[in-house]
């Protein structure tokens, strides 16, 4: 810029004002937030992994990489992640396609299925599936064996069982991101393939799905990393199946006396996996363009599936049955029984609901806290995600790739690690007293879940033709104005999906909350955990049901507020949270 300023007096003020502009401020702010939220805590982790009482050491890494049990855990984690990623795609993409681009019946049901499966806390669904499929006493197994006399027994305590349960929780990542992306695909791309003779399925596979590859890959990446990091189901299903995974190893290291250095080293191994996965994704997307929302008013058109829509609908119902009906039915049954395991009909009771709603005095405060925290955190993650994503996709700013990597790292960290890193960091910062306030919880939540916001925004932005923004700039719209009027509305479906993706886990976040809450800031997850930890599975189930009801209601409201006018003009466009 300097030579321009030198060349003319007129350019100088504009250069200066640009430097002070909203754009610089917001972009700078976002980068700074990312540094504070992610980079510093992770840096402290790196320090911890290299620092022992006797100074700098590589001993932790040595142990992590040579200890047979850790390598086995790593292997198991990768296997788990790979299968879950694959299954998430196989389930998520067709469902997303069906809802966004076809005339499949029962769209609200599919929406609800995906949302609810994401919503159900993984550790509770794991328990539910153990109830259903544990080899000796699992309800379904008993039914198959003792009632129907079939010689089939499912064993949930296996890698397949673990993959199955985890995938039910993670396929919504793919589903939600893909379906929001699919909404902005101009129908003429598909029509062009059809007229060349490609059948509907072929078109879907070779044109539509690849067109939303950024979203599918982002979803898969999230599913993969999340599957690896998900502690609850790995502890409940993996341990009895003797399947050790990295998170279970890492959690164990935090038990007294904590082996923080080793845990940090193992966690960074985790980060490395995440980074490699993101690297692969970026490689694949490189150079190709996925602009599906161009400057010529995109139309979306529903594919008429004919009788096949009933087949697809059948598949959806099946997914719904496994992902929602069975675990929820089992949870509801538990929540209504006096003591699970007794004769069900005789011990039917509403006591558990009475207890958690009226006697367990933290419930109401916890619910309120969690909703407020989740709303703020989800909004912040999405906002931050939009900016970080924008920097990556739209600018040539040096280091923007690093930003993208940095914003994915927290996802790969087991919650407890992230929480401890945060805690250590914020406790050591002088003058800023965040401890015990909502602020520290928010920092933890935003830090942990900002990857979800970034991935959602990033994949949405790739679908939007930059000339739509350029057209606003040339009319004199500032950066901020263009963002507000053009960019953000255009990627709204993706942002809404991102919001949902963040909101849900924040409500259920436990591993950081449990270290950071105070009596005033107790959260729902902590309240549930306290009940569960002390042996009350029945009220826990009741609380989980209440919890889910509230989240669903909160989301419906948020969706109403967030879903403004339709983006792509077509009565067929849909987005999550219910049918239009």
């Amino acid at each position: 810029m300097s030579s321009i300023a030198a060349a003319s007096g007129v350019a100088r003020p504009s250069a200066a004002s640009r430097w002070l502009s909203l754009e610089t401020f917001v972009l700078g702010g976002a980068i700074l937030s990312l540094v504070i939220l992610v980079v510093l805590p992770v840096a402290s982790l790196v320090v911890a992994s290299l620092w022992s009482e006797d100074g700098v050491t590589l001993a932790y890494y040595e142990r992590a990489l040579t200890g047979g049990s850790y390598l086995r855990a790593l292997g198991n984690s990768l296997t788990l992640g790979a299968w879950v990623g694959l299954i998430s795609v196989i389930v998520g993409v067709p469902l997303a396609w069906a809802v966004s681009r076809t005339n499949v019946p029962g769209k609200p049901l599919i929406q609800a299925t995906a949302t609810l499966s994401y919503l159900s806390p993984p550790f509770l669904t794991s328990i539910a599936f153990v109830n259903l499929f544990s080899p000796n006493a699992g309800i379904i197994n008993v039914l198959l064996r003792d009632v129907l006399g079939l010689g089939i027994t499912f064993d949930i305590f296996t890698m397949s069982g673990l993959v199955f349960v985890t995938a039910l929780h993670t396929f919504p990542f793919v589903y939600l991101l893909a379906s929001s992306a699919l909404q902005s695909v101009d129908a003429s791309y598909e029509e062009a393939a059809q007229i060349l003779g490609a059948s509907k399925i072929r078109t879907a596979l070779t044109i539509t799905a690849p067109l939303v590859a950024p979203a599918i890959l982002s979803g898969t990446l999230l599913a993969f990393v999340n599957a690896i990091a998900l502690f609850g189901s790995q502890a409940i299903i993996g341990l009895p199946g003797r399947i050790v995974t990295l998170p279970t190893r890492i959690y164990a290291l935090f038990d007294y006396p904590p082996q923080y250095g080793l845990a940090a080293a193992l966690s960074l191994l985790f980060v490395a996996i995440t980074v490699i996965a993101l690297y692969l994704q970026r490689m694949f997307l490189a150079r190709r363009s996925y602009v599906t929302l161009g400057g010529k008013g995109a139309r979306s058109q529903l594919v008429d599936l004919g009788p096949w829509r009933w087949v697809l609908f059948g598949v959806c119902v099946l997914v719904c049955l496994f992902a929602v009906v069975m675990p929820f039915a089992s949870l509801i049954a538990v929540s209504l029984s006096k003591s699970w395991g007794l004769d069900f009909w005789q011990s039917l009771t509403l006591d558990n609901y009475r207890f958690i709603l009226f006697e367990y005095d933290v419930t109401r405060r916890a619910i309120l806290n969690s909703l407020v925290l989740a709303t703020i955190a989800a909004t912040a993650c999405v906002a931050l995600g939009a900016i970080i994503g924008w920097i990556d996709v739209r600018t040539k700013m040096p280091g923007r790739r690093l930003l993208d990597y940095a914003s994915l790292v927290p996802l790969g960290l087991p919650g407890i690690v992230m929480a401890v890193a945060l805690l250590q960091f914020w406790l050591s910062v002088p003058y800023i007293v965040l401890y015990g306030t909502f602020a520290i919880l928010l920092l933890a939540y935003i830090g942990r879940y900002v990857p979800l916001g970034v991935r959602a925004a990033n994949s949405s932005l790739r679908q939007v033709d930059p000339s739509l923004e350029e057209a606003a700039h040339i009319l004199g719209a500032s950066w901020g104005h263009t963002m507000r009027e053009i960019t953000l509305p255009l990627i709204r479906p993706g942002l809404l999906a991102g919001w949902l993706l963040v909101f849900v886990p924040v409500v259920q976040e436990l591993s950081a909350s449990i270290l950071l809450f105070s009596s005033g800031t107790i959260t729902l997850a902590v309240a549930v955990y306290n009940l569960y930890e002390t042996g009350y599975i029945e009220p826990v189930s009741a609380l989980a049901m209440v919890n889910m009801t509230i989240i669903v209601v909160a989301m419906l409201i948020a969706h109403r507020l967030g879903a403004g006018r339709k983006t792509v003009s077509d009565d067929s466009s849909t987005s999550f949270g219910g049918a239009r």
């Binding site: 341990l239 009895p240 038990d255 904590p258 395991g341 401890v420």
Partner: protein
Amino acid sequence: ASAEEVDMAKAKAEGKLVWYTSTAIGQANNLALMFEKQTGIKVELFRSGGSAILRRFMQEASAGKIAADVMTMSDPAAADQLSEKGTFVAFKPKDFDKITETARNKDGYWIAQRLNAITIYMRGDKVPPAERPKKWTDLTDAKYDGKLVMTDPSFTSVQLTTVGVLADKYGWDYYEKLNDGDIMIVQGNQQVADNIKRGERLIAVGALDVYIAADRRNGHDFVSIYPEDGTLLIPSPTGIIKGGPHPNAAKAFAEFMISPEAQKTFPETGEYSARVDMAPPAGNPKVDEIKLMPVDYEKLETQAAEIKEKFNDIFR
């Protein structure tokens, strides 16, 4: 012994105290309310899992920002270690001498709040009396193959104690045999109870008895065996944090904790009181009728990591 006096005036002036605890949430609430009613001092409660409590406390301590006044945890080994480090205030309140000797620090750095009985419990309806094990060593019998369940010491500190003691006594061989018998490993006591309740497994190999107490009252046919070769009664230590913001209220609360009013609530919920003069939970044997297994907490404390690793090696 001469009991230390609590300065109630100062305690009341402090007005409140902060209690980190792993006590069951209902119970903890109950105790806090009782204390407030009695003294007017408010108890701010942090209830969480034993190791979460510890982790949190240690983070704060290392940053020099101590928020807790009183801490109740479930790991005597850790409590001993912290005592050595000078974390706790030595305090011998009234009735200190009424506490079971193994359940208190001799210098008064910590006092047990309650005793956790580790039993072999089982489904009375599925395991006929003749089949029921009597000792730890019975469990390696082939007839129990596929019927046993226990927790993982990596996640449960009482199990760490149990494993440490049994491995010491019978050698790791004992666990090798359990492994051959296809024992199920679960994360925590909750899942042990759950698996027994549903009948997935029939016998719990050393788990907290209190987890089935309520179920038993609700009508489940659960039988607890107090092994003849020694039962573990693991105290839950409560200590006063040195440097806590409400030192006097903390003492008042510590004293209250072992008072008969407070202690009698434990047998009511199926746990052993720490006091020698308190009746056992209904239907349970008295403490002095049980053959106790001695625990060397000092040794445990140094071997914790090793025990976990060894355990992992066997069961993977």
